[in-house]
Amino acid sequence: MKTFGAFLLFLSSLLKRGESPRILFNRTIDEAILIGIDSVFIVAVVSTFIGAVTCVQISYNLTNALIPRSTIGFMVREMTILELAPTITSIVLAGKVGSSIAGGLGTMRITEQVDALEVMGINSASYLVLPKILAAFLVFPMLVITAMFLSIMGGYLAGSLSGALSGQEYITGLRSDFISWNITFALIKSLVFAFLVAAISSYQGYFTEGGALEVGRASTKAVTNSVIAILIADFVCAQLLL
């Protein structure tokens, strides 16, 4: 509870004494490029395989001859858009982005780079952290959409290569009963997760004390806490928005 209070104080300090919008904008773009390039490969690999595995497993479970094979495509789409793409992608990003945010800030803290900013009269929290959160807002949804697309592609490939269903059937399934709100829902979730990962990891890194060992510890903690927060938020979002 005390940590949570400190976390809220930290968030409010981000908005005080900010730098000019131009600097904030430039820093955000820099961070976004960094996060994006850093993670696009792993997100692509993970989402393609998740789509493929989902397709194969559904087809394995779907033994009833009365249900058309195209249902597999439908189910892959639903699972991917609603849950797998936003949540798994964010969990992957928590590992990739969260640890790099916490490690980077922790190193800056213990090597007194944060103090150097403060001595210059710069609000180090807003200078360092705010762009990371904004960059995450920008990048997470893009990566989630990429993941949706690749995951569905993965399902298509797995389905046709394993002979579970024809490409034509898969596409028929994909196109049936489409609810566009589900995409909106996934994007809202990805924004929530973006905030959680960036803010929690920044908090862990920014308040690192000690040496290299503590920086490593802060990174680990950033990842575990982010993942737990994502899962809780996932549940809450489903309750509130579906």
Partner: protein, 272 residues
């Protein structure tokens, strides 16, 4: 001039600074001397506002530096340059970008003026060709030089150095001390140097403040420090064998001189 008055600081129940007062003059090398863990860095951080003292006041040329007066604090901070113990260069930026950084953030200079100033400062510290290097490619001494260049880039009036020559070989250490002294005199800066190195104190110090377990035990000009009769300071100075030997040599020389004087006097007397 920077004046501090009755600074107290406690961390989790341990008293780290116990009522320290003093003045730091401009154009002088003001040194904070003391063993490790006596609170030198904490005092320096209190003075620049990185640590909030529990009690006490700090004034910069008569202007009170306090948390509740944010605009004055910000204004003073723009005139502060600080060299950190580990240099604290921003490791995602090149050397030039590091030196340019305070100018970009704090001044309204245009880009050409900024780059001129960066080149000037790098040249001043003898690194005019290292502008495009990353901090990770630099040696310890070069990092300190870049740190100094970054500190003086915005025309600082106050310069703080936390153990500027620790972790350097003796020769590099001397050049860094020398550079700080030159800059201090050149721009009439109020410089405070934290050190535990008696060589720096004797060679480059002007006013010296000796801290021991959070208290100020001695204060004076560096030329008088060897004559102190404060036990802790004596122990500190002569904990170093070289210093002990130096003192011995000094004593022997002094005795010889007195002997000679006596001799001469006797001769004079017998001549008359």
């Amino acid at each position: 001039m920077i004046e501090i008055h009755n600074i107290h600081k406690t961390f989790n129940g341990t008293k780290v600074l116990d009522g320290i007062s003093g003045n730091f003059e401009s154009g002088k090398m003001n040194m904070l001397l003391g063993a490790s863990g006596t609170g030198k860095s904490v005092l320096l951080k209190c003075i620049v506002g990185l640590v909030k003292p529990d009690l006490g006041s700090i004034t910069y040329d008569g202007r009170i530096f306090a948390n509740n007066k944010l605009d004055i604090k910000q204004e003073i901070r723009r005139k502060i340059g600080m060299l950190f113990q580990g240099s604290a260069l921003f490791d995602s930026m090149t050397v030039s970008e590091n030196v340019e950084f305070p100018l970009r953030m704090l001044s309204d200079m245009n880009r050409t003026d900024r780059l001129d100033r960066v080149q000037f400062c790098l040249k001043r510290v003898g690194l005019e060709n290292a502008g495009n290097k990353m901090p990770s490619e630099l040696s310890g001494g070069m990092k300190k030089r870049v740190g100094i260049a970054r500190a003086i880039a915005p025309h600082c009036t106050y310069l703080f150095c936390d153990e500027p020559n620790s972790g350097l070989d003796p020769l590099t250490a001397i050049t860094i001390d020398e550079l700080i002294k030159e800059i201090t005199l050149e721009y009439d800066i109020t410089t405070i140097v934290v050190t535990h190195d008696m060589n720096s104190v004797l060679e480059y110090g002007d006013n010296v403040m000796f801290l021991y377990k959070g208290k100020k035990l001695w204060e004076g000009h560096s030329s008088t420090i060897m004559d102190t009769n404060v036990k802790e300071l004596n122990d500190f100075i002569f904990s170093n064998r070289l210093m002990r030997d130096a003192k011995k040599v000094e004593q022997i020389e002094e005795e010889e001189r007195q002997e000679e004087e006596r001799h001469e006097e006797e001769q004079n007397r017998s001549d008359r």
